[in-house]
């Protein structure tokens, strides 16, 4: 089953994040959006890594808007 776990995520948070926060989200791109949100986009090793990312977001006080697996096979 693990091979079917999504490996790429786009995590949208409210507020624009300066590039200096990139080290907090290693290997992921911080993409500011026009609507004042930021999409944190990139590869995620596994589910624990994803939860670690979400925790970092919570620790920074960033309101979470959405989490999307971007490599989910389309059915």
């Amino acid at each position: 089953m693990s091979s079917r776990e999504p490996r790429r995520y786009a995590i949208r948070v409210r507020g624009r994040l300066a590039p200096r926060w990139a080290p907090w989200f290693e290997g992921m791109a911080l993409v500011p959006q026009d609507d004042g949100t930021t999409v944190i986009d990139g590869p995620v090793a596994d589910q624990p890594a994803l939860h670690g990312l979400l925790r970092t977001i919570s620790d920074l006080g960033l309101p979470l808007v959405s989490v999307t697996a971007t490599d989910e096979p389309t059915l």
Partner: protein
């Protein structure tokens, strides 16, 4: 565990400059009516501040307050609960001493301590509020299980308050449904417009219009940290209106934006200080000086605190602080962006200062964060002996895993520490491989162990280097034991003990215990005894009391089997003296149970009962894993000695259900103990069912000795031939110097000879048994045989060397017989014997009886002799009288 950081369980003082929030402190009064209070919100919502404010309103007569600030390192059940107990002890609640004794480092479970704690709290005259702050930092399921356990079993006095960013996994809905949950969430904690206005225009000293406040609060959404940052940015600013407009129109992350504003407005020295020291988890003046390379750190910290720059004091004397988490994160982001090149130096300086101050864990963290892996490895190696003493193998393992493999490979001492961590998590395949790596690194050609580490290897801890040869043997003994190769295990353990430096208590203790276990299972009890003595001595010197008690169970058993009952008793009493009666450690109950066993063997039933009561009084949580079953076996034996065979049987059934051998060899299996009781109750069929896996022709081995002795008892009860089996058991017990076993064999041999009608042999063997039993303090093994053995004892002539001993036993037997306990036949009569006995009560003579039963006269006489022996009588008339007394024959009208 390391030194407890007092600041962790210091309850934060009310901070000046906070807004009184009556709607929330009023709601928090519900804490004292709720089982559980959860204050759940993202960082910067004022959770801790609010709780501190409310706690200041709780009268000391109403409740004691224990506060614990958690951090990531508390993600370990024993460490976590040790801090909780420390916090409760510091709260003035007057409880927790008992629990502390049950939280030895390396304890397998915190539950015994929690039981003790709950019992103590349940007896408190006032309530106890236990606050766990920043609980989200702890994720270990064992910790959450423990919290759930605490809640499930809480006495009404206990009120748990959890402040967290993440809801704890505690099935909150159930507590909510029961009406025992109080919740405060971010929606509750956000500043209302009114609170924002009071805060900004009050403590923060601004004069903002209602419109400005509304704009700010709208952008910050009541987030207190953001409003605080905004206030700091506006202080002393002329263009407050413009600032507010700009802020409201910006879509950057609020904290990010505002921190930048705040930082931009600080003088350069303050700004530098903030950035440089942001790498520190905890700040104190001299540490800040070391990191910044400047002086005046202490004064700077005081200035920052006065300026409300997110500095949280950690003690009353204003010596230790930390930055607010959120603020620290932003500072670190700026530091990494602006001065990434200075990071290794900052961490190196922090690491050096912390190592000198004795906080090795933090020093290692900084060395690793700065990329100084060799320095980190040096620190780890220096810290290894203390970590091992404190049973922090798991932490050691995490440390070593954080180093590149090539660094570990050239550091044999550190590699051995890693092996210890691997062994603790039962990763034995890797243990084996790592042991080979270490050995190969130090002596690639397999020659003698070099006194000095060969060139190319790094050794910081020289004593640790000298312990490696012994350590290798100890781990190899453990691996062999796991494979079931007892000979190899005993050999490696022996070598380990021989190679261990006299000063390394832990290696000696480990080698001793492993060797003891292996020798015990092999039946070499003399070697096992010596090995366990070494282990107990090492553990005692290292101060591991609970482990000393654990080893004493084994060592006492071994001594008793060797017939050294007195030495066993002295050992148990010595071990009990090691424990603090105010805070008994686990294993205290086991020592009482063991003493009960010794006293029972001496026929001191009152003394035995006293110790069993003492063990029960301590509670199961003060027993080691074997105690539930061992205490019931001991209680069964006491019940049996008192003649209450039904209770004994019920207790043995319970013992079997609760059985946990805890890696000890199974020398007296509960089913065999129960088979003995069945035999005594005359339920031979049940005993026969049990005995199916055994044969009288089996070659005796020590691990089967107890079972074979039980089989011999069954054969005797059935009047079958047990002579061959008993003789082989005797030889084996003698060869193994197992005097305790030997006495039992001899007693059974005497009984067998008696049944055969061979009185000279019976008396000869009995004489030998008595000569061994009396100095060993063994009584019941003889008196248990009841009337038949009494007959033999009476038959010893006055001039016999064992005569005095026999008389003393007879006096005991008679005292027991006169006692109130209901008696039963120790050795039940067979159906055929009962037929004979019934006819003995008639007027028929011998030949008539034989004819009646269609047996030969000789057979009839054999039966008669057996009946006399079992009833302990010498004549037909006495046999009939006794049979009536015992209820074997119906009472005469």
């Amino acid at each position: 565990m390391g030194p407890l950081l007092e600041s962790k369980y210091r309850r934060p003082a009310r901070r000046p400059g906070t807004v009184a929030r009556a709607r929330l402190t009023g709601a928090l009064d519900g804490v004292l009516r709720a089982a559980l209070t959860v204050v759940s919100a993202p960082p910067g919502f004022g959770k801790s501040t609010l709780l501190a404010d409310w706690l200041a309103t709780v009268g000391e007569d109403v409740a004691a307050v224990a506060w614990l600030s958690l951090d990531e390192r508390d993600d370990d059940a024993v460490r976590f609960w040790t801090y909780v107990v420390a916090a409760i002890r510091a709260s003035g609640a007057g409880v927790g001493d008992g629990a502390l004794g049950l939280l030895a480092p390396g304890s397998p479970s915190a539950e015994p301590a929690l039981v003790a704690l709950l019992n103590d709290v349940g007896a408190m005259p006032r309530d106890l509020v236990l606050v766990l702050d920043d609980l989200h930092l702890v994720t270990a399921p064992e910790v959450h299980d423990g919290i759930a356990f605490l809640l499930e079993h809480r006495p009404p006095q206990l009120h748990l308050v959890l402040a967290t960013r993440v809801d704890p996994p505690l099935s909150l809905s159930r507590w909510r449904a029961r009406g025992e949950l109080l919740e405060l969430r971010s929606a509750d904690l956000r500043f209302t417009g009114q609170e924002a206005a009071t805060y900004l225009n009050g403590p923060m000293g601004l004069t903002l219009s209602a419109g400005d406040v509304a704009t700010l609060d709208g952008r910050a959404e009541g987030w207190i940290a953001a409003l605080q940052l905004a206030a700091l940015s506006m202080r002393g600013r002329d263009d407050v209106g413009a600032f507010i407009t700009r802020f409201a129109g910006d879509d950057r992350h609020v904290v990010d934006y505002l921190t930048e504003e705040v930082l931009a407005r600080q003088p350069p020295d303050v700004r530098d200080f903030l950035l440089d020291t942001s790498i520190l988890e905890r700040l104190t003046g001299p540490l800040c000086d070391a990191v910044t390379g400047r002086e005046g750190g202490r004064a700077m910290l005081a200035t920052l605190e006065r300026a409300n720059l997110f500095l949280v004091p950690l003690d009353d004397r204003r010596r230790w602080y930390r930055y607010h988490h959120l603020f620290a994160d932003v500072l670190r982001a700026h530091l990494a962006e602006e001065r990434a090149a200075s990071l290794p130096d900052l961490h190196r300086r922090a690491s050096r200062w912390l190592a000198e101050a004795g906080d090795l864990v933090a020093a290692v963290d900084h060395a690793l964060a700065g990329g100084h892996v060799d320095h980190a490895a040096d620190l780890m190696e220096r810290g290894t002996p203390a970590m091992r003493r404190e049973r922090r193998e798991a932490e050691l393992g995490r440390w070593v895993r954080s180093l590149p493999d090539e660094v570990v490979r050239v550091r044999p001492v550190l590699a051995m520490a890693f092996v210890g961590a691997l062994a603790q998590v039962s990763d034995f395949a890797t243990v084996e491989q790592r042991l080979g790596d270490v050995e190969h690194a130090v002596r690639p050609d397999g020659g003698a162990w070099p006194e000095e580490p060969p060139p190319g290897l790094v050794v910081v801890d020289e004593e640790g280097y000298r312990s490696i040869p012994a350590g290798l043997e100890v781990y190899r003994a453990a691996l062999a034991l796991r494979r079931g190769d007892l000979d190899a295990a005993a050999g490696h353990a022996r070598d380990g003990l021989a190679l261990a430096p006299a000063s390394d208590d832990l290696v000696r203790a480990a080698a001793g215990a492993l060797g003891g276990l292996a020798s015990w299972a092999r039946g070499d009890l003399v070697a096992a005894e010596a090995a366990y003595v070494a282990s107990v001595a090492g553990l005692h010197r290292a101060g591991f009391v609970a482990d000393v008690l654990g080893c004493c169970i084994a060592l006492g058993d071994i001594r008793r089997t060797l017939g050294r009952t007195g030495d066993a008793e002295r050992l148990y009493r010595w071990a009990l003296d090691l424990t603090d009666p105010a805070a008994p450690v686990r294993g205290t109950a086991d020592m009482h149970v063991a003493l009960a066993g010794v006293l029972l063997e001496r026929d001191d039933l009152t003394g035995a009962a006293g110790h069993l009561d003492a063990a029960r009084g301590l509670g199961e949580h003060r027993g080691l894993p074997q105690n539930p079953y061992r205490s019931r076996v001991a209680a069964a034996r006491l019940a049996e000695a008192r003649g209450d065979l039904d209770t004994a049987l019920a207790l043995l059934d319970e013992a079997e259900r609760l059985h946990d051998g805890d890696y000890s060899p199974e020398v007296a299996p509960v089913p065999a103990v129960r088979a003995r009781l069945r035999i005594r109750r005359g339920e031979l069929h049940d005993a026969e069912t049990w005995a199916r896996h055994l044969s009288p022709d089996d070659e005796p081995t020590y691990l089967r000795e107890y079972e074979h002795l039980t089989l011999a008892r069954l054969l005797l009860a059935r009047r079958d031939d047990a002579a061959g089996l008993l003789e082989r058991l005797r030889v084996a017990a003698e060869q193994g110097a197992r005097t305790g076993s030997l006495v039992e064999v001899l007693v059974l041999q005497a009984r067998a000879a008696q049944v055969r009608g061979d009185m000279p042999s019976a008396l000869g063997v009995l004489r030998r048994a008595l000569g061994l039993a009396e100095p060993a303090g063994l009584v019941r093994v003889i008196t248990e045989e009841g009337p038949p053995i009494a007959m033999l004892l009476r038959a010893l002539p006055k001039q016999d060397p064992a005569y005095g001993s026999a008389r003393r036993l007879l006096a005991r037997l008679e005292a027991t017989e006169g006692g109130p306990a209901p008696r039963s036949l120790v050795d039940p009569l067979s159906d055929r014997e009962l037929d004979v006995l019934r006819l003995l009560g008639s007027d028929l003579d011998g030949p008539d009886i034989a004819r009646e039963l269609s047996v030969s006269l000789n057979t009839m006489r054999t039966h008669t002799k057996a009946i006399y022996a079992k009833l302990g009588v010498g004549s037909r008339r006495a046999a009939v009288r006794r049979a009536h007394e015992l209820g074997v024959l119906p009472h005469r009208r």
